[in-house]
């Protein structure tokens, strides 16, 4: 049975926790707005890019001269997994779901006898993967200092990945991130970026290409990698804030419940103590 003083301290500390989680929830809500706006603003570019690339890929992709970024190296022996997570915790299952998906993929690939390389973006994923997969780590991108994810960040990651591809370090690259659906639902997603995959091309109007289709494709493929990574980063950003918002909402509610329970316990103990003292006084008086 905790003493009255203990209970009182406990209630005070839970109240403080509730204040903090409440504040974090509100901050996350504000950041979510911004992250969502950024994701929406980036959509026209990504969509248009994808449409044009799909058209080009459909017409050039079959030929032998197709760029390696599209056609691949002809092997799938060495697989690069780019695991994109958050830099911070306290966001519910956000990081864990991504890591779980990546881990499943890595296990599957290893079982199939492939070589796995892991590039981590965001330190939370790195921490979670370290125990089992540290020997597969090939690099890490730190975004701790980045306040707002910009296209330049995506370009940096893309450049790293492309340089490795040029250097023959891997055959297939897949990115892992959380796709934002709503505040309560984020879908962990694996997306293959090298060799590039496109959704079925809609046969659009016949275009003149200047310079040639092949040259345009060669120019745009690396940019497309950056665009896909950028989209993933933005989706991740919105998902992180959404996940944090709902996690903190739950935490606030739990803290409230706990305060109620503790308060009842405190009142009961107080009353019990008073009753006990009264009984002592009365029985003392009767004994005389």
């Amino acid at each position: 049975m905790p003493s009255l003083k203990d209970l009182k301290n406990r209630i005070g500390s839970v109240k403080n926790t509730r204040k903090i989680t409440k504040a974090m929830q509100m901050v996350a809500a504000a950041k979510l707005r911004r992250a969502q706006d950024a994701a929406v603003a980036a959509r026209p570019y990504a969509e248009r890019m994808n449409a044009v690339m799909a058209g080009l890929a459909a017409s050039v992709g079959q030929s032998d001269s197709a760029p390696r970024l599209l056609a691949g190296t002809g092997r799938d022996q060495v697989q690069l997994l780019v695991v994109m997570t958050a830099e911070r915790g306290l966001c519910g299952g956000f990081n864990s779901t991504i890591v779980r998906l990546a881990r499943a993929k890595a296990t599957e690939l290893l079982a199939a006898g492939k070589t796995v390389k892991i590039l981590t973006v965001g330190k939370k994923g790195r921490e979670q993967l370290r125990r089992d997969y540290e020997r597969y780590f090939v690099g890490h991108v730190d975004l701790t200092e980045v306040k707002r994810v910009g296209y330049a960040n995506a370009q940096g990651i893309a450049r790293d990945v492309l340089a490795r591809f040029e250097g023959g370090e891997f055959d297939v690259a897949t990115i892992f991130f959380n796709r934002f659906q709503s505040v309560i639902s984020q879908v962990p997603t694996a997306q293959q970026i090298i060799p590039a995959k496109f959704e079925a091309a809609s046969t659009n109007a016949l275009y003149d290409y200047e310079p040639s289709e092949e040259a345009i494709l060669a120019d745009l493929l690396p940019r497309n990698v950056a665009t896909q990574i950028f989209t993933a980063l933005l989706e991740n950003g919105a998902s992180e804030q959404g996940a944090r918002m709902s996690a903190m909402d739950n935490a606030t509610r739990n803290a409230g419940d706990m305060i109620n329970r503790l308060t009842i316990q405190y009142n009961r103990s107080r009353q019990a103590a008073i009753t006990k003292e009264l009984i002592e006084i009365i029985s003392g008086a009767e004994a005389l």
Partner: protein, 128 residues
Amino acid sequence: MAVQFDLVSPERRLASVQATEVQIPGADGDLTAMEGHAPTITTLRPGVLKVVATDGIKSYVVIGGFAEISATSVSVLAERAVPIEEATPALMDSFLAEVRDAASIAEDKDAAEKTVADMMALRAATGA
């Protein structure tokens, strides 16, 4: 007598206006798109994009990307795009550094060097 002109960068939409003509710095040379232009897709070299809209002329510095031209619309997807008023020498220097960086890992050295040269010319033209 106008085409729908859109200029988008990965981060945002910079312009969406009715324009009578759009001068595009294409990779194989400048071209002007007006209503009824044959459908064309061209990549961009670093340069200045000029839009003659119904409410005046606007210029943008664009780097990388491509333009999709049809009879009734012009969409420019530029990896970097800023209104020319905002193109300070410092910004242009950072772009130049970026282009050089990209050139160092590019597959096609000739094309990359041309881009760097274009970028330097662009910097000289705007960084007065």
